[in-house]
Each structure stands twice: as structure tokens, then as C-alpha cells.
Amino acid sequence: MNNNIRLKIEGVEKSFPGVKALDNINFSVKPGTVHVLCGENGAGKSTLMKIINGIYKADKGKIYIDGEEVNVKNPQHARDLGVSMIFQELNYIPEMTIEENLFVGNLPKTKFRTVDWNLIRKKTLKLLADEGLNYNPTTRLCELSVSDIQMLEILKAVSYESKIIIMDEPTSAITYKETERLFEKIAQLKARGTSIIYISHKMDEIFKIADEITILRDGTVIETHDKDDIDINTVIKLMVGRELSDEFPKEEVKIGNTMLEVNGLTRQGVFHDVNFKVKRGEIIGFAGLMGAGRTEVMRCLFGLDEISSGSIKINQQPVNIRNVRDAIKNGLAMLSEDRRRFGIIPIRSVRENATLANLPEFFYSGRLHRNKENSVTARMCKNMNVKTPTYETTIQALSGGNQQKVVLAKWMICDPDILILDEPTRGIDVGAKYEIYKLMVSLVKEGKTLIMISSELPELIGMCDRMYVMAKGEITGELQRDEFTQEAIMKYATGFEKQEANSCE
């Protein structure tokens, strides 16, 4: 290779019925570099990547790999050309073993046309050894973590001798530690001359690994920069196309009496002796690594799982929460971390999703009051700034951020006193994130109590008044706002250090 460009995109355009998704896209990726693509949801990042990977066909424009024009027909063809893509949502068969997964769709055959398992084992062991990964080829994927499976996807890409690896938000579901491991792997790949196209919403991470950053907005390339020539605020400004006054619109709010008090909450084998207090007007953060038990505690609090022991007091009154209905009656609401699984009914309308948690309010003596339902839905969706063609549109047609706002609207209709937000900004773009932060502030101003779980430390540090840190199913520390630092949080989150239980008072 004497030219210094691995992948070149020239004048690519793509339209969907009624929309121009990509318009005159030009950008290029150098060998052995990490090229980060930034942009809000819907800016066209995924569409562009799907064109490079052969899933979509461009209406116009050219793609060059190592200076040669290519016409990518399908993902298989892309792989032959040296392009591999690691999707945000990993598709795999949980019952499959590691070696099966690596060769599925491409199984080597013996001369009798049967699968050559010996060869597979040999190749797998070699690949694992070469990459320094310590896995057993016969481990089933369901026994592995998301990050392990991601590593295997990378291994797959390596086994195809890919020159270009596209990673679509690879860190959205893995922990800090695992992210570190991923970045090490990326560095290794880079050193070997592999080009990485990296899509992410996480600014700190982008600046850690990028060599070049390209910003997309509304289907066009806004700018491409060397990492050193640009800073976070500029990137955000370019992505959003407007200035966000401040990344976190935190305001001081008067703190009231204790709303929620949890004592000795235990769920056998999941978390143990959890104690915390939340006051009116507070935003309380729960930090910790994935699997620390944060979501599990909140699920019990919200009646989704049973507790083994412990007590919950709301407004100084002991309450008994056996199911979600009890929780809602006691003024609780919970926005789940897994929106598709616990948040929305994909095939039903925005209206039906918005009123789901509060149905009896719209049915008078068993009969639907349609006008009331329409007007409440419209009012709430306007408050949340939901962008949807109509309220009868199925919710699955909306972008992630708008779906999240509808789910929030659903809980707002219940008018809860205590709102639990589990990863409220996961997978949504900067603009929608900001709107959710603003909403959080306006809620605590109304005297509500917020509990926020997040894996993004900057967000916790920016928004919370107080923070609990969990590790291995226990609360290991409590931090006041002036004590928030990434180091302090990580110290407790990794379980190196633990405060004495009574110092929480």
C-alpha cells in the first residue's frame, strides 16, 4: 500500500421513502487508526455503516478500499473485502459453544462432507492463543458476559483478516473494566495496521481512543478533525447544531423531609443488607459496576422481584410492596434500563403506551373515556417534547430518545412521589439526554424524589446531590456532592474500600 487511505467514501447518498438519510457523504479512514463517528441518533451513522457493510445499497456515490473502487453486495461480500462490523446489539445463539460461534456459517468440511470438528478445534485454539484470550473452546456463550462475547466478535473479525472493523457503540452494555480491556484490544489491532471505525455517544471515551473524529448531522458530514484539534464542547455543538448552555442543567433545590427509607434490604444471593435514605427534592445516584446489584435493589423496591428480608418506609410509614401495583399505589415509578424489554409495547400506539400504567383513570365504570385519554396523552407528550407524527403511530417507529420520553410520560401521568431512573439516557442522543436532565431538575423542583442509576459517571457527578456506591451486592460507600470524583467512586465501586455502615448517617 503506498497510498495512505484505507477506506474512502465519496459522494454517497441514500434515500428512504420520503427522506434523504444521507446526502453527499465524503470521508476517509487511514490504516492503523481509530476513526470515530459522532452524531445524534438519526444523523445517519448507522445507515452509512450499513452501506459500507453491504446491508443497504447507496443510491449514489463510490466506496474505495485501498484505492480500489468496490461495490459491496452483502455483508458476506464485505467480509471478503476485509470489512467486519460488530453490531451494538450482538446477535448470537446462547446455546452455541465458542468454537461453533466462531465458525458458524463457515464450517470447514471433511472429505465426507461432514463438519471437520478437529480442524475447528485446532483453529480456535490457535486464534485464542494468538490473541491472548483465555477461553475454553467448548464454553457455551450463555455462560459468558456481554464483554466476552464482544471479544469473540472481534476474534471473528480477526479470523477473517479484516482490514476495517466497524464497532457500533461497543461499550453501551459493558463495564469500565471491560471497556479498558476493549481499548487495549483496539490498540493491538491498530498496531497491526487494522482500521477501526468507532461509533459512540460517550464523549470521554471518544477522546480517549480517537485518532480522527468525523461529525455527522442530518445525513451530512459536518466536519472531520484530528482529535487534538477539537474539544468535547465543540463536538457536542457540532453534533447538536446548537449550543447546549451546559452539559448538565443542575440547579439547587430545597431538600425536604425523608421520603424513602430502606433498611436491611436483602435478596438472597443477589444483594445484602442494603440501607439508604432519600429526601424530598433530592436526586440520589447509584453508582457501581455492572452486576453490582443496583438494578436488582430497585427492582425489589418496585415490586418486580421479591425481597428475602428488610423493610421499606415511605413517608415514615412502613409499606409492604409485593408487586408493581403496590409500588405504584405507594407513589413509586420506575424507568427501566432495558426499554425494549420492560418499557414499551412495541406494536401498540404512543397513546396506549403513554396511558398504560394508569389505565383505570381512563376507564369510568368499565368504559373507556377516549377524549380524556387523548388530551392527557397530548399534554404529557408535549411536556416531554415527544416528536411523533401522530399519537396513533406505533411506538416502535419512534427513535430511542422519543420512545424514552413516552415511557417517562407514562410515569408522569401516574404523578409519582419517587421516581427511579435506571440508566435513563442509555442509547439516546445528546439532545434528548439534555431534555431528560432538564426534566429531572423540574421534577425535583416540584418536590419529587429521584433515584438515578447510571453507568456514566459524568452524568451521575453532574446531576446528583448525593450518591451511593455499590459493589458485589452491597453498598460500599456514600458520597456527598462535594466529594464526587471519579477516583472516589471507582474506589468504592471496585470494592477496594468500604465505609463503615453507620457512617452513612
Binding site: F16, P17, G18, V19, A21, E40, N41, G42, A43, G44, T47, D218, G219, F302, L304, N323, V324, R325, A327, I328, M334, S336, R341, F342, G343, I344, I345, P346, I347, R348, E352, L356, A357, L359, P360, F362, F363, G366, R367, L368, K387, T388, P389, T390, E392, T393, T394, Q396, A397, L398, S399, N402, K410
Partner: protein
């Protein structure tokens, strides 16, 4: 950018395509056979489909919330023969109907318990009920048909102001189903459960109770269908109504109820039932071999399911593609 048209258009085509198919079929049948549009023939078809259509309304309610009932034909037979023998003992139609409904509801409560409390998959739970109820019907009657059932036949064969009684029941169950699905909290919950059970639960909907209620209503419908069937054939047939659940499922699916749950309407099911009924009718009028008829009926189910999947994909692709890329 005007995307709102897309969403509405796809809902419209989805909602009314079934009516278009029905209208097309009616015109086709009318052209093919002069007798087709006669009041007598149309009343006949309605009467013929009434029993399976009542079952189909029950199936629609169940499929919408992500379940189904394979046992409805067998439970119908069990409820029917017990009802007939109750009538022979008491001469009271009221008791006979009450027995039929009670028996069918009990069988359906067992289905419901298996599915909600014991977490059995609906397919397996109702498959086992299919065998159990049929066995119970045969055991109770020693495999013999019950004849000389006297006044019991009125319900199946009589009419009120010129309208056959089965058709009145058909209309009543249709209205009940429509009202439940469209206007009640329970109906809305069914759609939510079928659309995403975990999200419905996390929104405070009592999933198990709603499923149980769906089975109870299905039971009431099956009981009514049992009385109508036995009185129409003028006997208590423990071996009757075999395969009725498949006709009912066919009507429901052709009527646009999505097998993956969360979508379906009473009107659609009625239209689906008439499509099946008219097809059978025209095939009979045209003297098509009854084995061939079975093949055609089977092929139509496949067609309906393929259409369901195809239209869903198309919708997802066009609407999601357009809205996602543009709404920013």
C-alpha cells in the same frame, strides 16, 4: 416532511384489507353462482359458521394476549353432552345452559391455572386439555351418542322474528368481544400483555389475573357454542366438534389477529369467519371434492400468516425507515 401519511396509510390498509378481501370474495361468489346471494343461502352460511365463529371470538381474545386454546372443540363436546344430559334429567333449558357454561368455564380455569400459576406454555396446556376433555366426554357417555333430546333442539334450530337463534348468539358474542377489546381496561390490558408481557407487568398490569379472565370469557363462549352445536345436530355427540378449534383459529388469523400477540379485533375475526364460511359455501356449491377443500383451507391459513408477517415487515421497514431517519 410528511410522514404522518405513511403511518395512517399502513394502518388503513391493514384495517380494511380484510374487508376488501371479503367484498371481493362476495362478488366472485355471486358471479360464480346465482344462488349465492339468496337470503336463504346467506342465512345458511351464517348459521353454519355461528358455532365456530363464537369459538373464534374466544380465540381472538386469547391470541391477542399471547395465548391460544387448542381445547375448545373438545371442551365444547364435553360441555355439550353434559348439558344435553342435564336437560334430559331436568327438562330445564336454563339449567342445561348453566351446566354447559359452568363445565366449559371450569375447563378453562384449569387451562388458566396451568398457564399462569404453573407457567405451562399455552400450547401444551390446552393440548393436554384437548385430550382430557374429549376423554371425559367419551367416558361420561360410554362413547354413545345421546338421542331424543326433545325441546333442546329449539336453540339450534329455532328462530326469533325470522332470525335463527344461533345468529343472534353470534351477534351477541361479537358485541361482547368488541366491547371488551375496545372499551374496557381489561381489553386494553390484553393488548399490552400480548404486545410485551414484561413491560405490561412492569407498568403495573396484573398479567396473571387478566390471562385468567381471558380464559374464563373463552369458557363462557365455548359453553354457549356447545349448547348451540348439540341442539343444531339434535343429539349429544361426544365425538362431535372435532377440529373446530382449527376453524376458529383460522377465522381469527384470517381476520388479522396476529399470532405473535397484541393485534386483533372482533370485527376482523367476524370478517375472517365469513371469508372461511363463504369459501366453504362456494366450494360446496361448485361441487369441489371435499378432500381438495381441505387442502385449500390449509393453504389459506398459510396465506393469511404469510400476509401477516409480510405486512408487518413492510410496515416496520417503511415507517421505521422513514420516521427514524427524518424525525430529528
Amino acid at each position: 416532511m410528511n410522514n404522518s401519511g405513511l403511518g395512517i396509510w399502513s394502518t388503513l390498509t391493514r384495517r380494511y384489507s380484510i374487508i376488501l378481501v371479503l367484498a371481493f370474495l362476495i362478488i366472485l361468489c355471486a358471479v360464480l353462482n346465482d344462488n349465492f346471494l339468496s337470503a336463504r343461502n346467506l342465512t345458511n352460511v351464517s348459521r353454519q359458521i355461528s358455532v365456530t365463529t363464537i369459538l373464534a371470538f374466544g380465540e381472538t381474545i386469547l391470541i391477542i394476549c399471547g395465548m391460544l386454546d387448542l381445547s375448545s372443540g373438545s371442551v365444547l363436546a364435553l360441555a355439550g353432552v353434559l348439558s344435553v344430559s342435564a336437560y334430559k334429567g331436568t327438562e330445564s333449558m336454563a339449567i342445561a345452559i348453566a351446566v354447559a357454561i359452568a363445565v366449559a368455564v371450569i375447563c378453562n380455569i384449569i387451562n388458566g391455572i396451568l398457564i399462569t400459576l404453573l407457567k405451562a406454555p399455552p400450547f401444551i396446556a390446552t393440548l393436554s386439555m384437548l385430550a382430557m376433555a374429549r376423554g371425559a366426554a367419551l367416558f361420561y357417555t360410554h362413547g354413545q351418542n345421546i338421542y331424543q333430546i326433545g325441546g333442546y333442539k329449539i336453540l339450534g334450530q329455532g328462530s326469533v322474528i325470522g332470525i335463527p337463534i344461533p345468529i343472534l348468539f353470534l351477534a351477541a358474542t361479537m358485541v361482547v368481544t368488541w366491547y371488551i377489546l375496545k372499551h374496557t381496561c381489561f381489553g386494553r390490558s390484553l393488548y399490552a400483555i400480548g404486545g410485551n408481557e414484561e413491560a405490561a407487568n412492569a407498568s403495573g398490569i396484573n398479567v396473571d389475573w387478566n390471562k385468567m379472565l381471558a380464559f374464563i370469557i373463552n369458557g363462557v363462549f365455548v359453553g354457549i357454542a356447545g349448547v348451540l352445536f348439540m341442539s343444531r345436530v339434535n343429539a349429544g355427540l361426544p365425538n362431535g366438534a372435532v377440529g373446530f378449534e382449527f376453524q376458529a383459529l383460522t377465522s381469527s388469523i384470517i381476520g388479522g389477529t396476529s399470532f405473535s400477540g397484541g393485534i386483533g379485533t372482533a370485527g376482523g375475526t367476524l370478517a375472517g369467519a365469513f371469508i372461511v364460511g363463504f369459501l366453504n359455501n362456494i366450494m360446496n356449491l361448485a361441487n369441489i371434492n371435499s378432500y381438495i377443500q381441505q387442502i385449500i383451507r390449509g393453504a389459506i391459513i398459510a396465506l393469511a400468516v404469510v400476509y401477516d408477517i409480510w405486512s408487518k415487515n413492510r410496515r416496520t421497514r417503511s415507517v421505521i425507515g422513514a420516521i427514524k431517519e427524518s424525525s430529528k
